[in-house]
């Protein structure tokens, strides 16, 4: 019991080092160009590789190229939501101001990638399955994920007091995190029209390496781009908050002077 406070103090102390908005702006300002450049570079290799130089699928033909957009978007939709849940937990437990801002700026981007995942999936489903949409467990749970992203984006902006909005949003994000295992395992728990996972299987991935490597390259590229966009948005939000604080202070000064 005696070492409990020190255990609790260590993560909090290291987190609070990054809670300093000035330090965050400095560090992220240095990181952002590298992040954006590497995203551009990886996608400049990955997209032509995936869209032109990789082989077609033996039964799906050229349509399989939708996968190189659809699958990274699906991974980002879920990985991004896991990030949202972590940020929300940190915001609720440690009252970390940057975690609130990160969650607030993450959700519109997450909603966008989930929308792209649904749209590309629909475009892929029509020629292959023969339908734009079915209400099977996988498709429905991803639609729920999309509504969770939209709901979070709307909820954190719906209160006059931003702190209250952030807290409500964090609770919604954590409750909604229950949907993540449902999305992931829906294709195993229930029978669905959507096929099971190709990559995360007990034995080898069921993708030929000529299809797997361009897919992984695209996934890395889109993940870097996603991170760059979110970081850019958080930086803008921190600066916006700073400007508002300065304006408030200036207004207050003008009032007391006059």
């Amino acid at each position: 019991m005696s070492n409990a406070p020190s255990l609790a103090a260590r993560p909090a102390a290291s987190l609070h080092r990054f809670a300093n908005p000035g330090r965050f702006l400095r560090l992220s300002g240095r990181l952002l160009p590298w992040l954006a450049a590497s995203a551009g570079l990886v996608l400049a290799v990955g997209l032509p590789w995936a869209l032109w130089f990789s082989p077609p699928d033996w039964q799906q033909g050229e349509t399989v190229r939708i996968m190189y957009l659809h699958v990274p978007m699906a991974w980002l939709a879920m990985g991004g939501y896991a990030g949202l849940a972590v940020a929300s937990a940190m915001a609720l437990v440690w009252r970390h101001p940057l975690a609130d801002l990160a969650a607030r700026e993450l959700s519109p981007v997450g909603a966008a990638v989930t929308a792209l995942c649904l749209a590309t999936g629909s475009l892929w489903g029509k020629p292959m399955w023969g339908t734009w949409w079915v209400w099977d467990a996988r498709l429905t749970s991803v639609l729920v994920l999309f509504f969770l992203w939209l709901g979070h984006a709307a909820l954190v902006r719906a209160f006059d007091d931003p702190e209250r909005g952030a807290r409500m949003g964090a609770i919604l994000a954590l409750v909604g995190a229950l949907n993540l295992p449902v999305v992931k395992f829906s294709v195993e728990w229930w029978n669905t029209l959507h096929q099971p996972a190709s990559l995360t299987r007990v034995n080898a991935p069921a993708l030929h390496v000529d299809i797997l490597y361009p897919l992984l390259t695209c996934a890395v590229g889109f993940t870097l781009a996603f991170a760059a966009v979110v970081l850019l948005r958080v930086r803008a939000a921190v600066m916006e908050r700073r400007i508002r604080a300065l304006q408030m202070a200036a207004a207050r000064r003008a009032e007391t002077d006059g």
């Binding site: 406070p5 609790a8 103090a9 909090a12 082989p55 077609p56 699928d57 033996w58 039964q59 799906q60 399989v64 996968m67 937990a89 609720l92 437990v93 440690w94 020629p127 292959m128 399955w129 023969g130 339908t131 079915v134 209400w135 099977d136 467990a137 954590l174 409750v175 229950l178 449902v182 728990w189 229930w190 029978n191 669905t192 029209l193 096929q195 099971p196 996972a197 190709s198 299987r201 034995n203 080898a204 991935p205 069921a206 993708l207 030929h208 390496v209 000529d210 299809i211 797997l212």
Partner: protein, 167 residues
Amino acid sequence: MTRKRKRLYLLLLCGLGLGSATALVLTAFQDNLVFFRSPSDVMREAPGPQRAFRLGGLVEAGSLTRSTEAGRPLARFVVTDGAAKVPVAFGGVLPDLFREGQGVVTLGKLGPDGVFQASEVLARHDETYMPPDVADALKRSGHWNPSQGAAPPASSWNTLQPGRGGG
């Protein structure tokens, strides 16, 4: 620090409660959340003749016959899950991926003659992706006949390079 601890424990407790509640609900609905029924399910308890449901399984090899009836294409095939079979009749255009050995999900009603009258046929592909030359090499070497079922274990072909002389 104690307040942070308290919030952390409260959060973990809520997560545990919500998580187990969701798990219980999902387990309870396990049987109702099926998108389609397999031929074995239909054999065990056939839904009423007026009840539309989805039947899913593999198209049995050698069972597909196509004809034209009153100017409409009519396809007859057998859907199987290995243990049971249900004959299906479908008047309409089949999806591109439809073939013998492919997974399908069909929507329709079971007729009094035991033939499933489908109004919609969806193709269900598996989770394997391979270039055409790899599929050809597997078929040529006799390791795989797509009309008989799923591809062999992925580790046996996912690094195969037939066009480049590699192993």
